[in-house]
């Protein structure tokens, strides 16, 4: 692996270019593709893998996915302030016109060109990591190719809530009731505002803890956004629990930040 590191001192830009990046398919003028990391002084960053521009076409660019820290989110989800947003954008024949393609955040537009330092590319992953303040954001991506075809992603909103770790909205489990005797498990879901070490304690009806599930910060169960923690109905004593109501307590730093009632019925 050979890395070429370029440091651009004009303004506050710095980026790296890798020759290991993607090779696009479909008759491209150049077989080389590049992955570029662009870091702005205000914390914005982008990665792009690009190829040279092909001939003109009539097909609009495709925005295949938009991932937040590698995961899909839906409207009104929580994300952490320094979330990395990665969009996969491609065009079948032409290259993406980065000057006229942009990331839109609360009606503010950031051109692909300014984020990547590239004038064009055929397909690639755009990485955007601006460092959000607390608030609600509307986000979408607009892509235009050099042939003038245009497409936009669906606009959606997400929220950033800094400060102490907390659970937003209700903690729920599915299915409820569930039957562990038949091999069924239940998934405990909750939304965190930040990455954090989280412990789930499952209590029986008379207030005794019968199960502890630990989730590391950043891992499933302990990361900002929607979490899914699975419980198979076994206690830490090694038995499948009896029919009853159990209370799952979501805790972080020794404090309870959410709870839900799980019904076991065999």
């Amino acid at each position: 692996m050979l890395w070429l590191i370029l440091l651009l001192t004009g303004g506050a830009w710095a980026y790296t270019v890798s020759n290991e990046a993607l090779v696009s398919s479909g008759g491209i003028a150049s077989s080389a593709a590049y992955s570029t990391l662009v870091t702005l002084s205000d914390g914005m960053a982008g990665i792009i893998s690009a190829t040279s521009a092909p001939t003109s076409d009539t097909t609009a660019p495709t925005i295949a996915s938009i991932l937040f820290d590698g995961r899909t989110i839906i409207n009104n989800d929580l994300v952490k302030s320094n979330v990395a947003i990665t969009a996969t954008v491609s065009d079948a024949a032409s290259s993406i016109d980065t000057s006229n393609s942009s990331v839109e955040v609360n009606s503010q537009y950031y051109s692909f060109a300014s984020l990547t330092g590239q004038s064009s590319f055929l397909n690639g992953n755009l990485r955007y990591k601006p460092g959000f303040q607390d608030g609600t954001y509307t986000f979408r991506i607009h892509a235009r190719d050099t042939a003038g075809n245009y497409s936009s992603s669906e606009a959606f909103t997400f929220k950033v809530e800094g400060g102490e770790v907390k659970v937003s909205s209700a903690v729920l489990n599915y299915p409820n009731p569930f039957n562990p005797a038949s091999g069924q498990t239940t998934e405990i879901n909750y939304m965190l505002n930040n990455d954090a070490d989280v412990n789930l304690y499952i209590y029986n009806l008379i207030g005794q803890c019968i199960k502890k599930i630990s989730c590391a910060a950043g891992a499933e169960g302990g990361r900002a956004g929607y979490n899914r923690v699975t419980w198979n109905g076994e206690s830490d004593f090694g038995f499948v629990v009896a029919n009853d109501i159990y209370i799952a307590r979501v805790t972080s730093g020794g404090k309870q930040i959410g709870k839900c009632k799980i019904a076991v019925l065999k």
């Binding site: 839906i74 209700a170 729920l172 489990n173 599915y174 299915p175 409820n176 009731p177 005797a181 998934e187 879901n189 304690y201 209590y203 029986n204 009806l205 008379i206 207030g207 005794q208 803890c209 019968i210 502890k212 929607y226 206690s235 830490d236 004593f237 090694g238 038995f239 499948v240 629990v241 009896a242 029919n243 009853d244 109501i245 209370i247 307590r249 805790t251 020794g254 404090k255 309870q256 709870k259 839900c260 009632k261 019904a263 019925l265 065999k266």
Partner: protein, 378 residues
């Protein structure tokens, strides 16, 4: 030592089996004492170890309420009374209801997220009839029949009923020491326990509990229990004033095969005539938000004061007779009648006998040696 010996017989931990909700503890006094109660000698302890009923010599009532862990409403009411002034032992009856609501049935939406469909309630009930009797000067024994009921409200198949049996004993080796032992939920699953409408049968595990109640001083009481589920309970009670008790306790609770947690508790008891108010705060060290406040209100019928016949009887009445009074000359017949008539007594003139003041004696003052400490104290 005999308690430890019995534990080694193989009553293992059965945390996979159904729950006996009375394990929450009966009465705020017990909760403040770290749930140590087997030799508790109060009415609430009757429903943990039925042998505690043996010393009950008058009507008593107790209750407890707690919003357990801020999730489960848990209420208990119990009463007890002697049968034939205790000659046939004493009986206790209790009812417990633990219920919780806002339990959500859920589904997935188009995004794969869990959503609420509806909600339901759940309740777990326990009715108990306890009986205890002294079988010798320093041993009491008792038994209890327990009726369990569970309901998942609207969820099909989520109803269950069951029955089980407790036995217990108290041993008074010294005036200031009581040993207790109880075996809870003795019936095997084949005989009853919990039968669910789904067809499932669940066992409520046997729990063997032993405990001591030691009074190193007249105003200090130390209680400790250990059970075959691995729980250890201990507490100390100090009678600061005649109307005030202070209590503190701790319990060690297993939370897995190789781990345990120590939870702390504290509380107080206030007494006024036959009424008692007890409070306990139970601190959950794992999740402090799961800590709970327990409240109890109890009533103990005061000793019934009755008037008994005086021991020294009054002197016999002094009766003075009087001659018949004839006011007119009677006819012969009337005269005959009058002659035949016995002399008419004048109304008896009683000399006020000097009765000794009626003595008030308590019917409860009996030869009972094993009377509850609780009753003595209160």
């Amino acid at each position: 030592m005999f308690i430890i010996g019995i534990w080694s017989l193989g009553f293992g931990i059965s945390h996979g089996a159904a729950l006996d909700i009375s394990r929450v503890g009966m009465g705020a006094r017990s909760l403040a004492l770290g749930r140590a109660q087997v030799a508790g000698l109060d009415l609430a302890s009757v429903f943990v170890n039925p042998a505690n009923a043996a010393g009950l010599d008058r009507f008593a009532m107790t209750s407890m309420y707690v919003n357990l862990n801020e999730d489960v409403g848990y209420g208990m009411v119990g009463l007890g009374f002697p049968v034939l002034e205790g000659n046939l032992g004493s009986v206790g009856v209790s009812f417990i209801n633990a219920s919780t609501g806002n339990i959500y049935t859920t589904d997935r939406d188009a995004n794969g997220r869990t959503i609420v469909i509806s909600n339901f309630e759940y309740s777990s009930k326990l009715g108990q009839i306890s009986y205890g009797k002294e079988i010798s000067r320093n041993i009491s024994m008792g038994c209890a029949l327990k009726l369990y009921s569970r309901s998942f409200d609207t969820i099909g198949g989520g109803q269950a009923n069951g029955v089980d049996l407790d036995v217990g004993m108290l041993f008074f080796p010294r005036e200031n020491l009581i040993l207790g032992l109880t075996a809870q939920n003795l019936l095997p699953v084949e005989m009853a326990n919990l039968n669910w409408a789904t067809g499932a049968k669940e066992d409520i595990p046997i729990n063997l509990r032993g405990g001591i109640n030691l009074s190193p001083r007249k105003d200090i009481r130390i209680l400790a229990d250990y059970d075959s589920l691995g729980n250890m309970h201990t507490g100390v009670e100090w009678e600061v004033k005649q109307f005030l008790d202070l209590r503190a306790g701790a319990e060690i609770v297993p939370i897995g095969k190789a781990s345990q947690v120590t939870n702390l508790s504290a509380g107080l008891g206030l007494k006024y005539r036959g009424f008692f108010f007890d409070y306990a705060y139970y601190y959950d060290t794992l999740v402090s938000d799961a800590s709970s406040h327990f409240f109890s209100l109890s009533f103990l019928l005061p000793y019934r004061e009755i008037e008994v016949p005086p021991i020294i009887m009054a002197k016999p009445e002094v009766i003075k007779t009087a001659t018949p009074e004839v006011t007119a000359t009677p006819t012969v017949e009337v005269q005959k009648k009058a002659m035949a008539t016995k002399p008419v007594k004048k109304p008896a003139v009683k000399k006020a006998a000097k009765k000794p003041p009626a003595k008030k004696r308590s019917v409860a003052v009996k030869k009972k040696k094993l009377i509850w400490n609780w009753l003595k104290r209160r």
